[in-house]
């Protein structure tokens, strides 16, 4: 804007027309240069994703065979090892976290949307955002102190609670955003027909917002599916088959970490394969989330 305002003062120059033409050329050159740089930034920013996915496919694809999903981990040197226990463990952890986190998160989101403007809603919204930004490792040591230390052993429960604690604020906020997009007229129509408030909220408002709420839930699930730090000293990992919530349980991200920092090539290959499976799982969940709300709630995925 400052440069845009200057030309009038230059009119008193010796060669006004030429000077202005030169200045204009320079301004257009700067404009083109910056447009180029911005485009370059977009390329550079998406490049890592392409490179990471390329390496995952290159290094992991050969190890992802049927037995990878059905076999247990094998010691170094034995071929045919798999991550069956870790895959099931991750699903169990996701399930536990969802059972705790989704109802609380969605309920809290309904409150935030319906009591918008109340002091508790404003405070809760702010704290949810703050909680959302807390490092996942902090959730891990919280769950350890809260659920592992008193009981004296690692457990799938503790891991599930740590992950649920990460889901709650996020689901609450996305639910709120979606519920707020439901037209007021729908709610008014239901109330005018004599619906009670709770039936209006649950069977009219929440039902209308279902697709968006499901998307929010899926995005949260995709996020916790890959979390490792909160599980390090809660779910802990397990080399054996275990589906008990009271025992340490294996998880895909934990297994990838263990194998990646090990010194064995066999295990490195397994780590790549595990990472490929994990990212495929997360991509599928994310894509389902996108498709579920395509064109209906533009803000849903953000």
């Amino acid at each position: 804007m400052t440069t845009a305002a200057k030309p009038p003062t230059r009119r008193s120059g010796v060669y006004p027309a030429a000077a202005r033409a030169g200045k204009l050329r320079r301004r257009h050159a700067v404009n083109a240069l910056m447009a180029g740089l911005v485009g370059l930034a977009a390329v550079l920013a998406t490049l890592p994703l392409v490179v990471v996915l390329f390496y995952l496919l290159k290094q992991g694809a050969s190890s992802v065979q049927w037995h990878f999903f059905t076999n247990m981990p094998k010691p170094v040197g034995e071929s045919g090892g798999g991550m069956a226990n870790a895959i099931v463990g991750t699903l169990i952890l996701i399930g536990t976290a969802s059972l705790i986190g989704l109802p609380v998160g969605i309920g809290g989101g309904l409150y935030l949307a319906e009591r918008r403007g109340s002091r508790l809603a404003n405070t809760t919204r702010f704290l949810a955002d703050v909680l959302n930004g807390l490092p996942s490792i902090v959730m891990g040591i919280f769950a350890w102190q809260f659920l592992v230390r008193p009981f004296g052993h690692f457990s799938a429960w503790a891991g599930g609670v740590a992950l649920a604690a990460m889901m709650i604020p996020q689901v609450a906020r996305t639910t709120e955003e979606i519920v707020r997009t439901v037209p007021v007229s729908l709610r008014e129509a239901a109330l005018a027909l004599g619906y009670t408030r709770w039936r209006t909220s649950l069977t009219v408002v929440l039902r209308t917002a279902t697709a968006g709420v499901v998307t929010g839930a899926l995005v949260a699930i995709a996020r916790i599916a890959g979390e490792t730090a909160p599980l390090l000293f809660t779910a802990f990992g397990n080399q054996f088959w275990s589906t008990s919530l009271n025992q340490p349980i294996a998880a895909l991200p934990l297994q990838i970490f263990t194998y990646a920092v090990s010194p064995y090539d066999d295990w490195h290959a397994q780590a790549w394969a595990g990472a490929l499976v994990l990212i495929a799982l997360i991509l599928i969940i994310s894509l389902v989330a996108r498709v579920a709300t395509r064109g209906r709630f533009a803000t849903a995925s953000d």
Binding site: T2, T3, A4, R27, V30, M34, A35, V38, L40, A41, A42, L44, A45, T46, P48, L49, V52, V104, Y111, L112, A113, E114, G117, T124, F126, L127, V130, G133, L134, P135, S136, I137, V138, M139, G140, I141, F142, Q145, F146, P169, A172, R187, E188, T196, R197, R199, T200, G226, E227, T228, A229, F257, A260, V261, A275, L278, I282, L283, S286, D302
Partner: protein, 345 residues
């Protein structure tokens, strides 16, 4: 929505409330009374339930703070303020100072932000101002996907792809070919696992957070702001530089601080790439530690109660720092979106 709901119910209630004498033709006074009673109870239960769920959020934050503080209290009491300033981290002799981890956290995050901020703002500008309409959604999706890749996968990729490249190509190039080795930051042997590696991987990981907030803020800048500048004859870039960016400035800063919060607490990828050594070194080629990686690395094998407590205390410090950083960021972003909302409305 709340206001409308209340008013519509008030509009309905005068018809319903005095049912007992007059309006009870269809159901009979008692049954209608019972139904209304039931509705009132249902509403109360519903209202109590969602309030309870909402209260879970502050309760959770308080619970996390209290549990971690209690866990770290023995170490904090024992070492006092020197816990933050001492660089001795010696589990064998039971002496703990978190200074190297705090230093490493700050430096790796600073590297990450220095790289990610210009790129992220560039992407946000590309998506909000420059890109053709058909390209915006796909590129935004790809950048969002960067945030969906798990930390441990970035770590894996970093260990087997990024570290060799750094060790063999980038570090010798910076140090010898560009003669930056005279600076303390780029001196010393190139091992691979280093502050630089951690900062690089962090920059990839925080970029999507900064760019998505920036894009949102840029989209909230009123059209009139752009049109006024264009009408004065400004080029596209002059419009952005003179009219759009100043308007969005504090929101973008909020986004950067939000990215800082992510970088400070990022654990797995950093743990795998930073070398995990409790030392303060000026060289970015040297290994270091961050608070998060210190906890991740030593917690499960802590050698005693004091060691555990010291790690919890590090967690508490991290908790407090990220809490403050996030609160500032949210406040800044909230200010802008509120102002933008008011002006566009």
């Amino acid at each position: 929505m709340t206001g409308a709901a209340v008013s519509s119910e008030q509009a309905g209630s005068p018809r319903e409330r005095p049912t007992t004498p007059s309006g009870a033709d269809a159901l009979g006074p008692k049954r209608l009374g019972a139904r209304i009673q039931g509705a009132v109870i249902g509403d109360r239960i519903y209202s109590a339930a969602i309030t309870l769920f909402a209260l879970c959020v502050p309760a959770l934050l308080i619970l996390v703070a209290v549990e971690i503080f209690l866990g770290g209290w023995p170490a904090l009491r024992r070492f006092g303020f020197s816990f933050l300033t001492s660089s001795a981290w010696d589990p064998v002799n039971g002496v703990f100072g978190a200074a190297p981890a705090i230093y490493g956290t700050l430096v790796s995050s600073a590297i990450a932000l220095a790289i990610a901020t210009p790129l992220a703002i560039g992407v946000a500008l590309f998506l909000s101002e420059f890109a053709p309409q058909w390209l915006r959604q796909p590129v935004a999706f790809l950048v969002d996907l960067l945030a969906a890749v798990p930390s441990v996968v970035y770590g894996l990729w970093g260990v087997f792809v990024l570290l060799p490249v750094l060790r063999i190509t980038v570090m010798p190039f910076l140090r010898d070919t560009l003669h930056l080795g005279v600076l303390p930051f780029f001196s010393g042997p190139a091992y691979g696992p280093s502050m630089l590696a951690a900062g690089l991987i962090l920059s990839i990981m925080v970029l999507p957070y900064i760019s998505s907030v920036s894009r949102e803020v840029l989209l909230a800048v009123p059209r009139s702001q752009r049109e006024a500048a264009l009408a004065l004859g400004a080029t596209k870039w002059e419009t952005i530089w003179g009219a759009v960016l100043p308007y969005a400035k504090s929101g973008i800063i909020g986004g950067v601080i939000l990215g800082l919060g992510r970088a400070l607490g990022e654990t797995m990828a950093v743990t795998m790439l930073i070398g995990n050594r409790p030392q303060i070194s000026a060289s970015l080629f040297a290994p270091g530690y961050t608070m998060a990686s210190l906890i991740a690395n030593e917690f499960a094998e802590a050698s005693g109660d004091l060691h555990l407590s010291a790690l919890m205390a590090v967690g508490f410090v991290l908790f407090v720092i990220t809490l403050i950083v996030n609160a500032i960021a949210r406040w800044l972003v909230w200010q802008v979106s509120r102002a933008g909302g008011e002006k566009t409305a």
